[in-house]
Amino acid sequence: MRSASDVIVVGAGVVGAACAYYAARAGLSVTVLDRGPVAGGTTGSGEGNLLVSDKEPGPELELALFSCKLWQELAELLPRGVEYEPKGGLVVARDEPGMAALRTFAAGQEKAGVTVREVAADRLPDLEPHLAPGLAGGFHYPQDAQVMPALAAAHLLRASGAEVRLGPGEEVAGLLTGPGGAVRGVRTASGALYAPHVVNAAGAWGGEFARLAGVLLPVLPRRGFVLVTEPLPRVVRHKVYGADYIADVASGSAALQTSLVIEGTRAGPVLIGASRERVGFDRTLSVEAVRRLATGATELFPVLAGVRTMRTYAGFRPYLPDHLPAIGADARVPGLLHACGHEGAGIGLAPATGRIIADVLTGTQPPLDIGPFDPARFEPGGSR
């Protein structure tokens, strides 16, 4: 027996790190495993968005509002290196019908606790001086924020004090179960690791991990490209995105969709997203996706036409068919918990997810209804 802890977290992305952090804070001893580096999967490919603006009223928005509060707390506790910036979001519409749709969307969000303010076309330059002229207007969401996701995951892990085991030897090959099927730990290439609880925080690979555990959790990769510009002074103040982004996020289509999301970073480069397509774990460059992003970005911010992009990369959002994450205990395997399937919102939703996992582990009532996130909800015949 190599070691024993109260809980093994599989996955050293931001969600795994947050689970480790809150579980450790609740007094549990935690071991985190990852076959790659910290933030080596979807976390390291993300833009670090902490958003309420793109979420319709419902369980995910509730989770996001709670998580944004937790990020504010974490920003005080973690080193400044996590680059937390409460910069706010700005959603813009090209025409009046677009504005009308945003207005309806925003009214629903406001009732659910989101702070949002309509911005008339002639006031847009006050918020974003480089925005293209001729837009119909927009909506400002001061609660939206940003962190540098890889650093956030690393600092959360460090602050957790958890034992962190990384590398190919730590890839989980199977779940160890006792009589009655309850979790006893995991088997890795390096041997057995024992714990009465195992948390699946394997992100886009969470479905594969669930299969190892013998349960169905249909996490699919939803690919996205990001364009990274050369370092710039602050040319984009908020997270700025087009009205069609919200529709694309909510869509279940496998075909390529692109909608503009543009934001600066403290390090200088401007990040340009977002494309969505379901093509498996294929990292092949899609010139079409990148072309659409570049074209759209220069239409929204003409100043970017004179700026170079340094690189582009792809990442895989952990997609579940109903666009809700799987968070909580798995009734099918006692001792197994899931914290994955957050699609493009994992950085933002990580702290709330970690808090819920810690609550479930310690038998505490979570601060919100976690029924909609039931990991067994995709089981044919419904959740048991």
Partner: protein, 104 residues
Amino acid sequence: MARTPRELAGARPDPAFEITLDGRPVTALPGQSVAAALWAAGILSWRTTREGGRPRGAFCGIGQCYECLAVINGVPNRRACLVPAGAGDAVTTQEGHGHAGLGV
């Protein structure tokens, strides 16, 4: 006797021409990169860093490290080690990201 790269390669380049660094004339040979021409003139630094304003010039010389960035004919962030020098090229010392004018 001094052995120069030109002698070692047995090169017989066409006549030299002039480029400028911050307005000061620098002699360049056809086929030389901007960085090579600056080095040949004894100039080792033509950029300051974004954080702390420290001096930088060519380091790897093969386009990988991005240390030798310069403003060339008004365009910032050109890799001086990869850009062939052309007659009359105006090279300007780059401060930081070279895009200070865009900040809002």
